[in-house]
Symmetry: C2
Subunit: 707 residues, 2 copies
């Protein structure tokens, strides 16, 4: 399950046997002091070497004047000196062969000083040293009890690992984790990501037993293919919760100006996160709710969910929330009735939401929970409690916690939404801190459950083999090479059609005819009806020049059309050199789809599919994925398209030829993956016919890589 590109030195970053603090200081206001102090008070068990030219002692530890004075292998060096001294320091660290260096110092690419940053990282990498940073607050690792950060206060040990691209936000995340009483297993600030990035860290954390969930705050991704790989393999083992800002166009601008990294298209990022099993939260609050739940609770055994409430209105709100977050409500009316009618008051409701009524006592709730516990088809209960005079705070606590525990022991899940005033709120705050699955809003609780279900769905759904297509890729490369040799960075229509032929994707039959006689022969060979278009480099707007004739049904109409086109074109563009006409079959109507594969600058080969036609950009009804992907995932992608029902057949139409559509997606994807000279293939429309009747790529645009 370990990512292929796992570097043992990343383990060394989290579990160093020795650390040096470059710029260790005895001045309490300095970062060089704070880091050393944290390492000491955190209980790190390895060797600690403070380095400072002034020598002496700090906190009872002797200070070396330079790294050369250390008579030991240094696994990790932490650099806290000003930016202008960092390169010199890195050169020295390379000489003594440290394994990793963390550059806490700021003043590099984040303020435009990319050159210095590159120089440092390139030098370090060439000498076998890996760099975390610059512009970070350090690393905390429970595996070696190492708190090599300047974060004030103790970091409580636990099961949440955090990776953050923003230092300031990272520090608030630590603070919020403390407020929420969420223990930390590891925390790394990646800053400018000049070398080590979140993918490297995920590769380590996926094998780190103490880490049960990983929270990732990112603004942009540099190496998307590596990131996708790390995310996919990590999500197989444990959940990764992502907060990615820059959702909006404006937010993406702000992110780009802040970190110098590209935020990329958010739709694409969103689709890829889902494809990789990652859980993307909207806000830090939502992310913490999810992480907290995951660190304190087992995964659910199934998704069949029942709401039990003492307030009808709150039950309805929970139902709305379940739809929003795709939490499936158990709805076997017969079984629900049998299960709950005997245990709820007569004026209650045994439908889902089950209403134990406003007068429900703890005993009423307990009976309903008992029934749910004993019902085999029910996996999860959302318990809703609206504050009620029949309950004391003690009743509430006992009712909540006894039942949560009983459900847990039986492999089932019980979560609570507690709505009320001071008393309920007081219990809620205290219970949350102890990890009891309670929330103060039905939406929060259901959002958490939805995220956990989504994750389990990913993990339980073993991936199929990646869909792939074989074809004569070399022949495609040859066509591309010829175009590039002619300094063209796009393919002409006939070249694109040749590639479609190689990929065995059907295009409308088409032939060129230099003369009327040839045109008549071509029409016969294609079969009526046909479309005729003038061929001339001098006529850009064929329609305006009267250079197009549609729906020609017999040879007489071909003759008439040919003469009319020649007459029209000569009149409209007198100087035009006319090479002849093209004839092609009239494409019969079907469902118009678009398929677009492109080599994304960040994420590598990606694919888009959706509703095609000339209004693609208006309708924006498309879905994205990173390549490669399996057939099941292609189906999932198509289902995300709003007009998916058109493919199933609406208004009495039959099912469309889904196989051919999926094949075309796989083939187009394979070409972009294998033929590096091609950056973009877009088929629009791909007209898809009834099942078994195939699909036709009416228009194909292929763009080539420059240089």
């Amino acid at each position: 399950m370990k990512a292929d590109n796992f570097d043992e030195r990343i383990r060394n970053l989290f579990e160093p046997r020795s650390v040096a603090i470059i710029g260790a200081s005895r001045e309490h206001s300095k970062i060089g002091y704070a880091v050393l102090k944290n390492i000491l008070s955190g209980g790190y068990r390895g060797a600690i070497y403070p380095i400072n030219p002034s020598g002496g002692e700090i906190e009872g530890i002797p200070v070396r004047r330079s790294i050369q004075e250390v008579d030991d292998e240094i696994d990790l060096a932490i650099i806290t000196i000003p930016a202008r001294f960092v390169f010199d320091s890195i050169q020295e660290l390379c000489r003594v062969k440290v394994k990793n260096a963390i550059i806490i110092s700021a003043g590099f690419s984040e303020i435009g000083n990319l050159e210095e940053e590159r120089k440092i990282t390139d030098y370090a990498n060439e000498h076998g040293v890996r760099i975390l940073g610059p512009n970070v607050f350090g690393i905390y690792s429970s595996a070696s009890a190492l708190n090599a950060t300047f974060v004030a206060g103790d970091i409580p040990r636990g099961h949440l690992a955090m990776i953050t691209q923003s230092g300031a936000l990272g520090l608030t995340l630590v603070g919020q984790a403390a407020v929420e009483r969420i223990g930390i297993s590891a925390m790394v600030s990646v800053g400018n990501k000049s070398d080590i990035d979140e993918s490297d860290l995920l590769a380590y954390l996926q094998g780190h037993d103490d880490t049960h969930v990983i929270l990732l705050y990112i603004e942009g991704v540099r190496n998307g293919e590596k990131f996708i790989d790390a995310l996919k393999t990590t999500s197989r083992v444990k959940p990764v919760v992502i907060i990615k800002s820059g959702r909006s166009q404006r937010g993406a601008m702000a992110a780009a100006s802040h970190t110098g990294s590209l935020a990329g298209s958010d739709d694409l990022f969103d689709a890829i996160a889902r494809q990789c099993g990652a859980l993307r939260a909207e806000s830090t609050k939502e992310a913490f709710n999810w992480c907290k739940f995951i660190t304190c609770n087992p995964f659910p055994r199934g998704e069949s969910t029942v709401i039990i409430t003492n307030g009808g209105g709150a039950g309805v709100m929970a139902t709305d929330a379940c739809e929003k977050y795709a939490v499936p409500l158990y709805d076997d009316a017969q079984d629900l009735k049998q299960t709950f009618t005997p245990v709820i008051p007569t004026i209650g409701s045994a439908k889902n939401p089950v209403d134990v009524t406003g007068g429900a006592t703890p005993a009423n709730y307990n009976k309903a929970f008992d029934a749910a516990l004993q019902s085999d088809p029910i996996d999860t209960i959302i318990g809703i409690y609206c504050e009620n005079a029949t309950f004391t705070a003690d009743h509430l606590k006992t009712m909540v916690e006894t039942n949560v525990e009983r459900f847990r022991q039986n492999g089932k899940l019980l979560l609570f939404s507690l709505l009320g005033g001071e008393e309920t709120d007081g219990y809620l705050v205290e219970a949350r801190r102890r990890g009891v699955p309670v929330g103060d809003d039905v939406y929060d609780v259901v959002s958490t459950l939805g995220a956990v279900y989504r994750y389990c769905r990913y993990r339980n759904d073993a991936p199929d083999e990646d869909a792939d297509a074989t074809m004569d890729f070399a022949a495609i490369d040859k066509i591309v090479a010829q175009a590039v040799a002619a300094k063209r960075y796009f393919l002409l229509a006939h070249e694109a059609q040749k590639i479609m032929a190689i990929a065995d994707i059907t295009v409308p039959k088409s032939m060129n005819a230099p003369t009327l006689e040839a045109a008549m022969k071509a029409a016969e060979s294609i079969g009526y009806p046909v479309v005729m278009k003038v061929i001339s480099k001098d006529i850009i707007h064929k329609s305006d020049a009267g250079g197009i004739a549609l729906d020609l049904v017999n040879s007489k109409e071909v003759v008439d059309a040919y003469e009319a086109i020649m007459r029209n074109c000569r009149k409209h563009v007198p100087h035009a050199v006319i090479e002849g006409v093209s004839l092609s079959e009239m494409v019969q109507p079907g469902v118009e789809m678009i398929i677009g594969a492109r080599r994304d600058a960040i994420f590598g080969p990606t694919i888009m599919a959706g509703l095609g036609g000339i209004y693609v950009e208006v309708m924006k009804d498309v879905a994205f994925r990173a390549l490669p992907l399996d057939r099941k995932e292609i189906q999932t992608m198509l289902k995300e398209v709003r007009s998916y029902p058109l493919l199933l057949g609406v208004r009495g139409e039959g099912m469309k030829d889904m196989d051919k559509l999926v094949d075309a997606i796989i083939k187009v994807g394979a070409i972009v993956r294998k033929c590096k000279g091609i950056t973009d293939i877009e088929i629009n429309p791909l007209v898809v016919y009834e099942k078994g009747m195939g699909a036709k790529a009416v228009d194909v645009r292929i763009l080539l890589a420059k240089g």
Copy 2:
């Protein structure tokens, strides 16, 4: 500004000079005790008459054995006796001419006992008594210091009025208001709404000076037209925040089974709420955030917003949130640079979000806030603070509160999002309770700002006159009457076309021809190209029978087509009686829209417009409104349609004939409003051409009211 249907007796409900408690009790566990106790301890200044056949005294007040013993006018009677005794009690109350009765007792329509409820309410209404309830927890009104509820604990006085349909949720709302330290001006539980409903209460509350904002929890609406009217007029005076559960299909089912009221189509409700200036919140938490802000802060003077942050990542998240909640960010780059560059650190950013950098001190923040305060174009600042060692809790408090106050004094708005650990969190909780505009998540803060802006937009945007159309409605009624006389509840194509002619909405030219000769004449008169279709009651699927010929361009083609159609149809449906053929003009392509007007069972006349064509239900690209509406609102509605750009003209096409489209919407709306016999008119497609070229109603379906 008072709703036309305001009933002075509703004022009496909130401001009674005397109250009687039917079923007053000295047993502390009884509702009849709790209500009396609350009235006494709430400081009600009017006369109080506990009624109980056992007589005696409760809490020092003499108890009358029956209402007849009271020698005073009773403004309000509160009934707490079991359901089976309520009708008798109501009869007595009618005899002594009480003005209003609140039936707290449950056991009526909410458990299926609709008959008894109707009997009681009908009787009361006939005798001039209005009913609140049954199945409610009572009323609290600050105007008369009346707490006639069984809610435990004091209700803190303030400026939020709450109306709730769900008792249990209503009680939790009171509790949550207490936790949030939001004072209450009025609170009413409407329960089964057998008589008095939220519209009646809004009519009173809009004139109640102490009420600054109204929070409405509803599950379903009974009289939609009255509700729309009340909502519109109230929103002109003060904001109405709505929580309506039953958003999801499943939630709507749950709501219907719970309250016996219809939840209606949520899309329609959502559109109507927006149209009426109401602020619909998703969750109770969101609603309270909005209400809290509104009760504690003035409305903003404008919408030009700048984010000032010490954390770049948090700034980007706030930017995302601003896009989500339609908060416009000020983006005059030149002016932003001039304003902020002099006052922020050199490594900061003077773009919006303005980044004062992670090391920012209180002084740095103050300087940036000063600059924003002095900048004329900036109306609002979202201040973001990520916990930072340079700040103590006192610094934070001073920085936040001094600046909030200075902004307020200058007619500007400053809100804070405070992200951090224990210390920040501690201040946050305390400051929120005091009404300082601070939140712990950027999304919450921006959602609040978005809601306030939305409300101000509604209030500042004076409504135009309702668009109306004049036409010969009597002629339409006559066509309808004829169809109804023939026991038909839909109009035939030619009848619908007659109505289009009366409304002056263009339809494709069309004529019927019993013979070939007539067909040829008709084609000439319509103008080529034409479409020919067989007319026969026996041929349902004209296409399948070969009964349709498209694109006939001359008389020869008309002859050929006529003969072919006759031949095909006779062959396919040998027994068919063929009445002739219809000829109609070939409709040229344009933007296909749908317009649907219907008399909604709940909301009365409503209108829908959007992308038309045969895949309307797949694309679901439509917007809704209640009728009547002004031209501006029609434009707003059209802009909500995703494919709106098609009307503006994309891909080099010109602007479409928006005037004709809007006219058609107004006309269709006017017909449904005026002609009560018609329940539905649907034009699909209405093909809209370039500006000045009109629109054509290709297919028109009209349904009639039954009985």
